[in-house]
């Protein structure tokens, strides 16, 4: 007896330690993904009121998506949203033990569904920019909790009532979606099979088609069949990996009632916690640049340019978004032509194990266009993103700012009104339009363009501003002429820049470009401007080093690597090893085709 007590006490201790360890891991996983959760709220569509509710309710699982979309907005304060999410999972754990009647160490089996739900919110990676289903972040957890509650109540009733519960669950298919089916299977498997269970399982096969006929005849069959089950499919890509946590969740839920009786050994909690942690870790998306980029975008949307520059300074492998945001920050804080190449203008591709293409357009191009005063383009890109991904706070905020810049007061009012119905946005106002945006907006003529949305279009457009009267725009035109490595645009840009910046120092990077273009294209019409001797001497050293290192059989990458340490802070290095936007003059002619 004493031995049994001791064993039981030990099992309890192991259980509690496992639970604490697992939930500590959950806290850790949520903590390191705070930036992801903020981005999730920013890119999750939610509208208060009947219009949005009706649009969701026209599909099965719509109500859960509405609830999920509202709860996702709590991630505006990521810590708060995470606490709410944790509470939902703790409730799932507790209700699950009641619903499945788990006792002793078998209680730890509920860690497995929680691990699945945790995995589903930390494994998205760049899919977060493309296509998370509406209300994705909370809807699955809330619906699963409701399913378990239903199961708990159902199992508390006499067995002869179960048929009513089966029918009720099948009727609840429009609300609970695939969780209604999971409920039926779970309840059926908790009892010895009888005609009731067989009937329920038989009816289950026809649930989706029946509901499609009754309510959802204007939807495709698969939309009704997979009601609420997250599938990651876009017009261009699809990903089965991200649906895996939900398949596992379904299987685990079905298996728990079958296996719980046999899983009462002392090691079960350790095993469950370990499996949960390993499962989550193996699927969790981990990349420092992914998180840094998100943080940088967040600072940029808040016009916190100092922090953007701080983050840029720390990063040796910036993405395209990071490079653009850094240069916008330098435009706002000053020093673009003195510092930009020192902090690197060569961008690196994002780490993305999936096939989805995510780039500057999806991540931050509307923000970049807005800050360069190209408001019409910013509006268009915001729209095109929002049409595909939903009018989330991010796009509504940007659209409101664009409307303010265009002095469309009624539009500002519309977007602000919509946003103010969202939690944490009650007093939201678009930031005043900066003088720089106003100046740039007035510095170029109107044109009728085609479908432009790339980073190269941005570079190309700004490098064409060399006739501008604006001091700020002339600096940008010169900078982007340098970025595009285009001597034909460089000279008029430089001329215009110098005329607009009389009695000012000749910026270092502009000197570097000037020396290089005089050297490379001596036949082109140019001007004579004094440059610093140190810069000139350094160019000579650069050329000597380059001539010394370039040998047959060596790749450009090898030479770039060898020269990067000493010369990586110069325009020359970018010109030879980092140019990404050259020959865009020819490309532009193609791009502007409607």
């Amino acid at each position: 007896m004493e031995k049994m007590n001791k064993t039981s006490k030990l099992s309890d201790i192991i259980l509690y330690v496992s639970l604490v360890a697992f939930f500590s891991f959950v806290v850790y996983a949520l903590y390191i993904n705070q930036e992801v959760f903020y981005t999730a709220h920013d890119r999750s569509e939610f509208f208060y009121g009947a219009t949005f509710l009706h649009s969701l309710m026209s599909k099965p699982f719509g109500l859960m998506q509405y609830v999920g979309a509202w709860l996702t907005l709590l991630f505006c304060k990521p810590a708060f949203g995470s606490v709410v999410m944790m509470l939902v999972w703790i409730l799932i754990g507790w209700v699950g033990t009641k619903a499945f009647r788990l006792k002793g160490t078998a209680v730890a089996l509920m860690l497995l569904p929680i691990a699945c739900l945790l995995t589903s919110v930390v494994d998205l990676g760049y899919w977060i920019y493309i296509y998370p289903p509406k209300g994705y972040w909370f809807s699955q957890s809330v619906a699963y909790l409701l399913m378990l509650l239903l199961l708990w109540v159902a199992r508390a009733t006499p067995r002869r009532w179960h048929l009513a519960w089966y029918l009720l669950a099948l009727c609840a298919y429009p609300v609970l979606g695939w969780f209604a089916l999971l409920f039926v299977i779970s309840l059926a498997l908790t009892e010895k099979p009888s005609w009731r269970e067989l009937l329920a399982l038989f009816l289950l096969c026809f649930t989706a088609s029946t509901w499609r006929t009754l309510l959802y005849s204007n939807l495709k069959s698969d939309e009704v069949l997979f009601a609420g089950f997250p599938r990651f499919i876009t017009p261009l890509d699809s990903c089965d990996r991200l649906s895996l946590p939900f398949w596992v969740l379904g299987v685990v839920t079905v298996l728990i009632p079958l296996c719980s009786k046999y899983l009462t050994k002392w090691f079960v909690p350790v095993l469950c916690a370990a499996v949960g942690v390993i499962f989550t870790l193996s699927l969790m998306f981990r990349d420092q640049n992914y998180l840094k980029e998100m943080r940088m975008v967040r600072y940029a949307y808040d016009d916190n340019w100092k922090e953007v520059l701080n983050m840029a300074a720390e990063n040796p492998r910036p993405t395209t978004t990071m490079v653009f945001l850094k240069n916008i920050a330098l435009m706002n804080e000053g020093g673009l032509l003195d510092c930009s190449f020192k902090s690197g203008n060569i961008s690196f591709p994002v780490y993305n194990p999936d096939t989805i293409h995510v780039g500057f357009l999806e991540i931050s191009s509307p923000l970049a266009y807005y800050n360069y005063g190209m408001t019409n383009e910013a509006v268009r890109l915001n729209f095109e993103n929002a049409i595909q991904k939903g009018f989330s706070p991010l796009y509504l905020k940007m659209l409101a700012r664009c409307a303010l810049a265009k002095e469309d007061d009624k539009l500002v009012e519309r977007y602000t009104t919509i946003l103010r119905h969202c939690p944490f946005y009650a007093d939201w106002q678009p930031a005043p339009v900066s003088e720089k945006v106003k100046e740039l907006q007035a510095s170029y003529p109107d044109e009728l363009t085609g479908v432009e949305n790339s980073d190269s279009y941005l570079v190309n457009s700004i490098s064409l501003w060399y006739k501008t009267d604006s001091k700020l725009a002339s600096e940008q035109a010169l900078f982007y002429a340098m970025i595009s490595c285009d001597s034909h645009r460089f000279w008029p840009s430089l001329r215009n820049y110098l005329m607009k910046h009389i009695d000012e120092d000749f910026p270092v990077h502009a000197q570097e470009a000037y020396i290089l273009f005089i050297d490379k294209f001596p036949e082109e019409k140019r001007m004579m401007i004094p440059v610093e001797e140190t810069v000139y001497n350094r160019y000579k050293q650069f050329c000597e080093t380059l001539a010394r290192l370039v040998k047959p059989g060596k790749t450009i990458g090898t030479v770039a690597g060898e020269m990067g340490g000493e010369w990586g802070d110069t325009y020359w290095y970018y010109y030879y090893f980092g140019r990404q936007y050259s020959n865009i003059a020819e490309r532009k002619d193609n791009e502007v085709q409607s």
Partner: protein
């Protein structure tokens, strides 16, 4: 105990039924500060003329400035009714119907009180304000019961979900006619649906286009659905802008090579233009296509029939100077202007007569598009802007109406219908000719909404916005109402039935 629980449930059910069947009728404020101005209600229904079968004209005061709103309606027979909950005034449909019956051919008086939020008005305390009363005149003529439109985000390039919907104007019921997700088989390219059109306001003969994935024109012929391809070797494209002949199973289409450009700075944002366009006539019975006009140097577009079917009206561009012909259209798109022409049509021979200039917009340095003839045949309605064929993106664009009978016609005053400085386009007549409908971006220059105006004895009254159950719906709906068309009956074919012709 069980009896108590049962009585409790019965009580709950009774209370729920009571609340769901009755509207809240608040008291008007005991005291209020008078203002000598009309209330800034949205939608603006002050002093409008409405049809005797319209849905309740629900409205609201600006939520930022007011916390409560109370409206008192006085019917011509002296009945007083008050409404208001929060800042919204939402009138139950049954009570509204009684009001309309009592006020048919007469006016109802509306008094509005608003409780300020205090802070917005610079006062510490909130207070009730009473506004100048206004009238809503109820015309004797009803409006067509149904309206259909495409709901789509304001243009641009990308689209996702798109639907053609129908709305019962006498209630708030909106249902889907078709959506672009049902039959799309190409995930990458997607599917576009557009240009729904009906014969004589009825739906047993109708059509809409499906583009890109699973493309074709869906035609309903006496209730039978089919999908056809209108492209022929000798036409520019398949059919685009349609017009059903009022009596025969014939449809005039334009065939177009349409392009879209984006302004980098211009507040008009978007420019839609045709590189080429011609007119064709499609015979539904024989599936044959006949060319009506195909001058390769000019652009013919937007066909419409006279109500008797004896004339085909359309728009045609004015010849451009020779030196512009080889240039990129984007450099001279502002020089393209359209006039309105017509040709006689002989149904027996299917022959068209000589072209006749009906309205010379270019001589006023304007461009006229989208002609529509009133059901009595006396008036021509069209949209007019400075240039081009797609006025819904032109801020200066207005609706113009001119009598067709006069030898020296002059425009009818439509200042009460048109907005000032916002695009008004896509005009149409109700089947009784007493209601003009148009799409307008007047609310914010971005999202087009449907406006109606009463037309009687050559006069148009103040336009009013399509009523919604929740007046804030127009704020929250980030889609435009595209191509609003009147119908006297709903489309009876379901989305599912339509989708079967794609299989």
């Amino acid at each position: 105990m069980k009896r108590h629980i049962r009585s409790y449930f019965q009580f709950l059910v009774a209370v729920t039924l009571l609340f769901s069947s009755c509207a809240y009728h608040p008291d008007v404020p005991d005291s209020s500060k008078e203002t000598n101005c009309l209330p800034a209600i949205f939608p603006d229904y002050c002093n409008v003329t409405v049809p005797c079968n319209i849905a309740p004209l629900n409205f609201m005061l600006p939520a930022g400035e007011y916390s409560e709103c109370v409206a008192r309606i006085t019917t011509p027979d002296g009945k007083l009714l008050t409404y208001g909950a929060g800042v919204k005034v939402q009138i139950p449909e049954d009570e509204w119907r009684e009001i309309l019956i009592a006020a048919k051919g007469k006016s109802i008086k509306v008094e509005v009180w608003g409780k300020t939020t205090g802070a917005e008005h610079g006062n510490e305390k909130s207070e009730w304000l009473s506004f100048s009363p206004f009238e809503i005149h109820v015309a004797e003529e009803p409006i067509d019961e149904y309206l259909s439109y495409r709901l789509i985000e304001p243009s641009y390039v990308a689209w996702n979900f798109m639907e053609i919907a129908q709305r019962n104007i006498t209630s708030f019921e909106e249902t889907q006619i078709f959506n672009n997700k049902m039959t799309s088989i190409d995930r990458e390219k997607g599917q576009c649906i557009n240009c729904h059109s009906y014969q004589n306001y009825k739906t047993d003969n109708m059509l809409f286009h499906v583009r890109i994935s699973n493309a074709g024109t869906v035609i309903v012929n006496d209730g039978k659905v089919s999908k056809v391809n209108l492209k022929r070797d000798y036409t520019i494209s398949s059919g685009v802008y349609p017009a059903w002949h009022p009596t025969a199973k014939l449809i005039a289409f334009s065939t177009d090579k349409t392009r879209q450009g984006f302004h980098t700075l211009n507040p008009n944002k978007i420019e839609v233009y045709d590189m080429e366009s011609d007119l064709i006539l499609y015979d539904v019975a024989t599936d044959s296509v006949m060319v009506v006009c195909n001058d390769s140097t000019l652009l013919e577009v937007y066909p419409t029939w006279s109500p008797d079917g004896k004339y085909l009206y359309y728009c045609k561009s004015v010849p451009l100077p020779e030196e512009l012909r080889d240039k990129d259209i984007r450099s001279y798109y502002q020089k393209i202007q359209y006039n309105i022409y017509r040709r006689t049509f002989d149904l027996a021979t299917r022959g068209f007569g000589e072209e006749e200039l009906v309205y010379d917009a270019a001589s006023h340095d304007m461009s006229a598009t989208l002609p529509r003839i009133s059901p009595d045949g006396h008036y021509l309605l069209f949209a007019q802007g400075h240039y081009g064929c797609f006025h819904i993106w032109h801020r200066e664009a207005d609706i113009v109406c001119m009598p067709l009978d006069d030898e020296t016609p002059s425009d009818i005053d439509l200042t009460k219908l048109n907005s000032d400085g916002f695009p008004d386009s896509y005009p149409s007549w109700s089947s009784n000719g007493h209601w003009i409908m148009c799409a307008s971006r007047r609310d914010d220059n971005n999202y087009s909404r449907v406006y109606f105006s009463y037309f009687h004895n050559g006069k148009a009254e103040k336009a009013f916005l399509l009523p919604q159950e929740d007046p804030e719906h127009h704020t929250f709906l980030l889609k435009s109402y595209n191509r609003p068309e009147f119908m006297v009956e709903p489309v009876h074919i379901s989305v599912d039935e339509f989708s079967r012709v794609f299989q």
